[in-house]
Symmetry: C2
Subunit: 226 residues, 2 copies
């Protein structure tokens, strides 16, 4: 499958590499490919510059946002929540595109821990579906960190990942991609329409608190029923 | 231990009866005990009137909010989020009281599913601690329904309940009460200070979505770590 990823951060890179390794054809879309590729120094948190990462992944093309939007059947939004609507607008995906939204709308303006820039009565996933009514938004993967996204077996035993969106076929496409990443079909819980994007985005504060309690971002939750 | 419960709804009744059955001395505080006891007809959802419930639990006293506030070492807030600050204000618990807050600030003004009346940059638990700085607020039990609160074994295997609050001794008191209700110490996860009340209150939309997916409010989550 042809898959384009918007976002050059850790989540975008991790997903792009894992989907390419799973046999898909993947490109990463960025506002200015030349500028992104020129960043070869690590950032303040020690993440390698995007140019270095791209050099280590020569099979993954680096393209403009507009090229990414027209590239394939699936467009993955892995931008920071702040830049999401502008990035998807620049990508202008054609009608019917499956827009897999893995982002959280983090607001660090008051420091760590962040709050959400949209919550409670709306969500980033819902904003995307309203702004781009002809694409098929599926919210998923935003409840785990990048390492768990692409290697769920790093957390032992049964645990769950969520999908939310209006289009059943689009959720089926995403569920197959989740399978390619190692998520068994039984681990994928369908939360219904795109309104449930709100549910998974508002889990962020609990995720942060659990990360603090666990001392690691590598964990997940299992929904236990009688 | 002497425990007072504010709130005559399902959560308050269920906790009061279970804690009394576990050997504690329990009263329920309400704005107008006579009026509450006079309600003997079921409500629109089929919940028996409070007067009927009280008749079936003759060992549990029904008192005013002020009497409840002075009754014991632990005051449980099981009021609706809307009425919480007024109810605790009327109870006026003395300094040092452990205020176990099990409520969620549900706003049904736009119908079902509810949104939260406070979220993201604040929470009901934090509001309570700010409004009553001399009591020791512990947020807990608000992430499961009433049946699971008092019978965690109804959900099989390991699953978790959270405590958040500023005072370690108060959290230890609550952890012992959780033990009386059937929660093993290993199932109690300490999320740190009262700010984490926000984390558990904002889980509500995910809880609602999971209830929809599971078709039942009887479930819980297990935090899975490597």
């Amino acid at each position: 499958m042809q898959i384009a990823v918007l976002g050059t951060g850790l989540a975008g890179r991790t997903l792009a590499a894992a989907l390419q390794a799973a046999g898909h054809h993947v490109v990463v879309g960025t506002r200015d490919p030349q500028a992104s590729l020129a960043r070869t120094e690590p950032d303040s948190r020690g993440t390698p510059g995007f140019g270095q990462w791209a050099g280590e992944h020569p099979d993954i093309g680096v393209v403009t946002q507009a090229e990414a939007g027209g590239y394939g059947e699936v467009l993955i939004n892995a931008t920071s929540g702040e830049g999401t609507l502008a990035a998807v607008g620049a990508a202008a995906p054609p009608p019917g595109t499956v827009l897999l939204d893995v982002s959280n709308a983090l607001d660090f303006s008051a420091g760590f821990p962040p709050v959400l820039s949209v919550a409670n009565t709306d969500s980033l996933g819902e904003q995307l579906q309203r702004a781009f009514p002809d694409v098929r938004v599926v919210k998923s993967l935003n409840t785990v960190n990048a390492a768990v996204m692409v290697d769920p077996a790093t957390v032992p035993g049964e645990h769950h990942i969520f999908v939310a969106g209006e289009d059943a076929d689009a959720k089926a496409v995403v569920t197959r991609l989740l399978g390619d990443l190692g998520w068994p079909a039984t681990s994928v819980l369908d939360l219904g329409g795109i309104r449930s994007a709100r549910a998974t985005e508002m889990y962020l504060p609990l995720w942060l608190a659990l990360m603090g309690a666990a001392g690691s971002p590598v964990f997940n939750i299992r929904v236990v029923t009688p």
